[in-house]
Amino acid sequence: MTETRPSTPTAPTRRATLRAAGGGALLLGLGVTGCRSAVSEAGSPAGEAGEAGKASTEPRRGGTLSVAVNADFTPSLLFAQSAQSLQQRLIYNTLTRYDDRLKPQPELATSWEYAKDGRSLTLALRTGVTFHDGRPFTADDVIFAVENLQSPLRAAQLRATAAVVTGFEKRGDHELVLKLAHPVNNLFDLFEFMIIADRNSVEDAVTGKRLNGTGPFRLTRWSPGSGLSLRRNETYWRPGRPYLDGVELRVVPQADALLSSLRTGQSQLSFSVPGKNLSVVAATPELAISQYSTGGGAVYLGVNTTVAPLDDKTVRQALAWAIDRERILKQVLGGYGLASAAPWPKSSPAFTEAGRTHYTHNPGKARELLRSAGHTRLDLPLLHVNLPGETAVAEAVQYDLRQIGVHVTLQPTDSAAAQKNLISQNMPGLWTMGHGFAQVQPSTLAVSAYPFNEAKNTSRFRSAAYTKVVREAWTGPAEGARANALREKITDTLLDEAFIIDLAIRGSVQVSARKLHGVTLNKFTYLNLDDAYLAG
C-alpha cells in the first residue's frame, strides 16, 4: 500500500493498519502491487487536500477535476431541462449569462439592442469562436439553435419563448436580428438556457455519440451509467482558459457513496449531496459548503381543482394553512433551503417576505376554514414519486393534514407514471412534486412551467384573471414599477387560488474541496469552470 501523502513518524493508527491489512489481503488475492486506496485522499489527482485552507489564490494550470453527480447525462434531453445539466456549459456556450441580479452578461453574444417597439432584437456575435471540430461559429448557428428549440421534439421548456421568434435577418456572419411576434420580457432566459450546438451533428448529439460545441471542454467519452470524460479545449475562445486539463462527471447514484467519494477526495465537487447529509460534510475540514440563492427548485403540494371538495378555494386554503413547512424543511431537506408559501427563491425579483410567509403552520385556522366550507373530515388520495426523499415529503404532508381532519391515502408511483399523469392532467385530488423555473424572470414560471401554465395545467385551474395577468407580465417590461406590480399580482393570485401550494424551496448547495476555486453555476445549473482551478 503506497500512500503519497506525507506520513507522520508516529506509529500507524488503527485505521491505517486496517487499511494496510485490507490492502495486504488484496495483494495476496490478486497480485496487485503498488495500489492506491479507493477511500483515501491519496487517490485525488492534485495531491494533498488539507493544505487548501492556506489558499494560495494564484490560479494554477492543470489537474483534473472530478465531479460527483447522482444521475447520468441523458443525451435525448440535451435541449431540455433534465435532472443533470452540469455538462451543458462545459461542452457548449450560451449567448448570454445572468449575473446575480438577473442582468445579462456577454458570452457568445457580445452586445444586443431591442428595437423601440420591443418587436426585434439585434445581436452582435463574438468573432473568432470555433467549434471543437474547427468550424467557425456564425449567425447561422444561432438561427439553428432557436429553430431547434421551437420543435416540440426537443421538449424544451422555454419553447413558448423560442416560438415568439418568428423571423431572422442576417447581417453578415456575426450580426443577427431576431424578429418577435410580440414583445416578451424573458428572451434572456432563453439565451441563458439555449446551448449553441453544431447544427451538422445534432442527431449524433441527441444520441450521445458526438457532442460538438464551442465550450471550454471537449467530450472524450460518455459511458452510460458511469459518466462523462472531458478534456481541455486547446482552442477555447477565452485566452488562457480553462485552467483545468480535464473534467470527469462521475455518476454515483447512492447518497452514501457520493458522500464518501467527496470525503475521501475522489471527487472534489458535487451539487447532489442531499440536505440531510450535509451535517456530515460540515464536519469534514477539507470540504466547503456554499449555497446558491437561486434555490434548487421547489417542493409543492398540487391540488386538482376539479375534484370535489377541492374545487372550493376555501378548502385549498385550509390545506395551505395546515402544513408545517419549517418542519419539512428541517426534517426532509436537512434545513437547507427556504420554507415558503410562494414559489420564488430569494434571488427572484418576485420574492417578498410577505409572499413567503403568506401561509404559515396554523392548524386551528385550517380547521376553521374547513368548517366554514362545511367539512369536518375529508378523505383524499395523494400521489407521490416512490423515491425516498419524495416519500418523506408526502408522509409529512399526510401527517399534517390528518391533524385538521383530512385523511390522506398515499399513492407511491414511479417517476415515469407520475410524469405521465402530470402531463395528461390525470392527477388524483392531491400530489406532491417539485417544480423549477422560479429562479429566472417570474413570467417564465407561468409560461414555461407546466404546473403553473395559465392555459393548461395539471390542477385544471382556469381563470380569466390569471390568464390576463400572466400575459401582461410576459409581454410587459422586465423592470420598473409596472413589472413589479404585475409580479405581485401573479403572486397574489397563486397564493389566493392555492392550486399549487408551495412548501419549500430546495437549497442549491455546492460541496467542494477547499482547494477548488472559481466554480460558478448559471441559473439553469449549467456548471461553469472557465475560471476554476485546483490550488497546489
Binding site: R19, L30, C35, A38, P75, L153, P224, G225, S226, A257
Partner: protein
C-alpha cells in the same frame, strides 16, 4: 438422448416466444411511457405527443412487435429510447460489470467455501467448528440486503477502509477496481460460500471415515497428508458441478446486490430502463435473461434425464 433433446427443443423455443410476447405486452400495460419520461417534468402535452410519434409509439402494436423481433433477428438492437446510446452497447457494458461481480463472488465462494468446509470437517476445536456452523447458517439465511447494509456499516462507515458503493472497472484501474469489488462480491458470495462449505464438510467428513482412511490413520500416516492426498481429491469432482449451479444463483442474486452497492451491471440497467420505460432496453435485456435461463434449464434437464431415466415421460 437425442430424441429427448428434439422433444425439448421446440418447447424451449415456445417459452422464448411466449416470453417475448409477455415482455412486450406487460411493458405496454405498465402506465407511463418513454415519451412522458423524455418530455420531462415541466413539459407540455404537445412535446410529449411529438416525441411519442418520433419513437414510433403511435404505430399499431403488432407493427412495433414485428419491428423489435425483426431487429433482433438481423442483429440490430437499435438505439435506446430514454437512457441514450445504443442498446447493444448498454447491455454489453452491463454484462461486463455483472460478469466482473459474479467472477469476484465466485472467487470468494471458493476461498470461503473451502475454508468453511475444511474447518467444519477437520478442526478439533469445538468452538471454532461451532462458529463456522453459525456463520454458514447465518450466511445462508440472512438476506443480502441485510448483509449488504452490515458490510457497508462496518467497512465503509465505521472503519472507512472500503468504498460503500460504485464501480471502477477492473481492467482500467485494477488496484482501485478491486476495492470497489470487494464488498459487493462478498455480499453476493456469502450464501453460495455457505452451501459449498456445508457440502465440503459433509463429503470430507465422509471420506475421512472411509475404511481405507481409518486403516491409513492406524498405519500412522499424518492426518494432514490424508486430507490433502485422499479426502479432498475424492470430494472435488461433484464440487465442480455444485459451483456450476451456484454460478447461476450468483447471476440471479446480482440484481439486488447491484442495487445495494450501486454497481452498474445488468440488474441496475434493467431497473433503470424499466423506471424510465426504455422499451428496447427492457425488452432486449429481459429476453436475453430468459434465453440464458432457458438454456441453463435445458442443459440441467438433459443432465437429469441422463442421470435419472424416471424423469423422462415415456
Amino acid at each position: 438422448m437425442r430424441g429427448y433433446l428434439l422433444r425439448r427443443l421446440p418447447s424451449a423455443l415456445f417459452v422464448l416466444l411466449l416470453a417475448s410476447l409477455l415482455v412486450f405486452a406487460v411493458l405496454r400495460l405498465v402506465p407511463g411511457d418513454p415519451a412522458a419520461v423524455l418530455a420531462g417534468p415541466d413539459a407540455s402535452a404537445e412535446a410529449e405527443a411529438a416525441i411519442r410519434a418520433s419513437l414510433g409509439l403511435d404505430d399499431p402494436l403488432p407493427a412495433q412487435y414485428a419491428r423489435w423481433i425483426g431487429g433482433l433477428l438481423t442483429g440490430d438492437l437499435g438505439p435506446s429510447y430514454a437512457i441514450g446510446g445504443r442498446t447493444a452497447d448498454l447491455i454489453g457494458d452491463g454484462i461486463g460489470a455483472t460478469v466482473e461481480l459474479t467472477l469476484g463472488a465466485l472467487l470468494f465462494v471458493i476461498v470461503l467455501g473451502a475454508a468453511f468446509g475444511m474447518v467444519g470437517a477437520t478442526s478439533r476445536n469445538r468452538w471454532l467448528r461451532g462458529t463456522v456452523r453459525i456463520l454458514t447458517t447465518g450466511a445462508l439465511a440472512v438476506p443480502p440486503f441485510v448483509t449488504g447494509v452490515l458490510l457497508v456499516l462496518l467497512f465503509a462507515v465505521l472503519l472507512g477502509v472500503l468504498p460503500p458503493g460504485g464501480r471502477v472497472p477492473l481492467l482500467t484501474a485494477p488496484d482501485l477496481g478491486v476495492q470497489y469489488l470487494l464488498l459487493p462480491a462478498l455480499c453476493l458470495a456469502l450464501p453460495s460460500a455457505a452451501v459449498l462449505g456445508r457440502y465440503l464438510e459433509d463429503s470430507i467428513g465422509r471420506a475421512l471415515s472411509e475404511d481405507y482412511v481409518r486403516t491409513a490413520t492406524a498405519a500412522g500416516i499424518a492426518p494432514r497428508r490424508l486430507l490433502w492426498r485422499h479426502a479432498l481429491p475424492n470430494a472435488l469432482p461433484p464440487v465442480v458441478t455444485l459451483l456450476g449451479m451456484q454460478t447461476g444463483h450468483l447471476l440471479g442474486g446480482a440484481v439486488l446486490v447491484e442495487a445495494i452497492f450501486a454497481w452498474p451491471g445488468l440488474g441496475q440497467l434493467a431497473e433503470q430502463a424499466l423506471v424510465r420505460r426504455d422499451y428496447p432496453v427492457v425488452q432486449d435485456l429481459l429476453l436475453l435473461l430468459v434465453t440464458v435461463f432457458v438454456l441453463v434449464q435445458l442443459v440441467t434437464d438433459l443432465v437429469h434425464a441422463w442421470l435419472d431415466p424416471r424423469i423422462r415421460w415415456e
